[in-house]
Symmetry: none
Amino acid sequence: MRVLVVEDERRMAAALQRGLQAEGFAVDLAHDGEQGLHEARHGDYDVVVLDIMLPRLSGYNVCKQLRAEENWVPILMLSAKDGEYDMADGLDLGADDYLTKPFSYVVLVARLRALLRRDSGRRPAVLAAGDLSLDPARRRVRRGERDVELTPREFALLEYLLRRRDEVVSKSEILEHVWDTFDTDPNVVEVYVGYLRRKIDAPFGRNALQTVRGAGYRLAGDGG
Amino acid sequence: MRVLVVEDERRMAAALQRGLQAEGFAVDLAHDGEQGLHEARHGDYDVVVLDIMLPRLSGYNVCKQLRAEENWVPILMLSAKDGEYDMADGLDLGADDYLTKPFSYVVLVARLRALLRRDSGRRPAVLAAGDLSLDPARRRVRRGERDVELTPREFALLEYLLRRRDEVVSKSEILEHVWDTFDTDPNVVEVYVGYLRRKIDAPFGRNALQTVRGAGYRLAGDGG
DNA sequence: CCGTGCGCTGAGAGCCCGCTGAGAACGCTG
DNA sequence: CAGCGTTCTCAGCGGGCTCTCAGCGCACGG
């Protein structure tokens, strides 16, 4: 999962980066509002952590601007507790959650995961393709009436493919979003696609997870 | 997807070309600002990667000129980080995104894809000629209501011909844009034209892909 | 009518892509 | 420490894809 942290104070930013990386996130940093706005627009992040007090452009305005552009990436706002800013304003502007400094990593990570799970509630809670369904919140996968057991990695892969169902997704895109790396041997994707097929397709005589030779994979929207 | 890379430094340009081709883009190169401007005007590209420091005409001016002509092709600017130029200026001039050298190659690809996704609303997403259609994003080709399976090379060839439908396209042009070489035996084009005809024309009793003896091929705009 | 040259096609060689089984490394639990 | 589940690497293989080549048909010009 890709996280953008917009925070001008270097030590705070570095600490957040280390902490979140330890939790398995891929973290990029922006050090002022303009850069943050730019990265959020173009960087394809799954969630944004946004400080309010920023040089050049405040977190408020970054958030406001993004929402004005119909960019609904989940945003978690951070503020000092000196009360100069009111967090309620942030929520009004379209932020999805907020935290007041100082906060603990544990809480931050928990909030982030919650945001990712519900994805701001703007998308359907359950991802589906035909009779294949995945519930991110309950971490549950079903094919028809039967539950399917997946490992964490298999689950993340299926979730990503379902979010982009009917599209052809390249192995490098998969590596970037599911493994949070890009210089890994793409063979690992092939291996996990194989695992998934053995669990969601083969036992049911289906073929949802299709190979597009020379391009990547496609999850058929009708469930195969 | 067609990408124009405007970059004077040969090694950089060659590396970008190879890398982007591996990701499935069709890449053309321009080596100075004037050539880049000319290609961008006439080349029908989906996105332009534009270095700022260029001989004869700077990337700034290429961008400014294109926008002045109401040409809204998505532009991603590249700059050295020596700070001589401020990227914000580039955005003011109408660029859609920027990256600072050195950048990771994967980030570049991700940004390009994001640009293409965002922009896909403006231009027709699918290329068509009569009841023959090709969707670059979903990597899908249809003749009427029937899906047609193509190999990567066949797909690239059909995409190129569709973009230039009703024009007579020479074999050397095809070699240059689809095979990215020019000293190859043109017979390979004949072979692949043959493959395509067997998949998109023969089974349907159609004749979209026409031979213009002594000149090249033409894809009939009405689908044959 | 024939000759020349262009384009078409079937056959086949080689290569590369993707799939898979085996197993090593790692962490967690009892 | 043993046992288990998960992740990932590696090597081998099978087959699809690409491209070459040679032979043939056909258009066009003499």
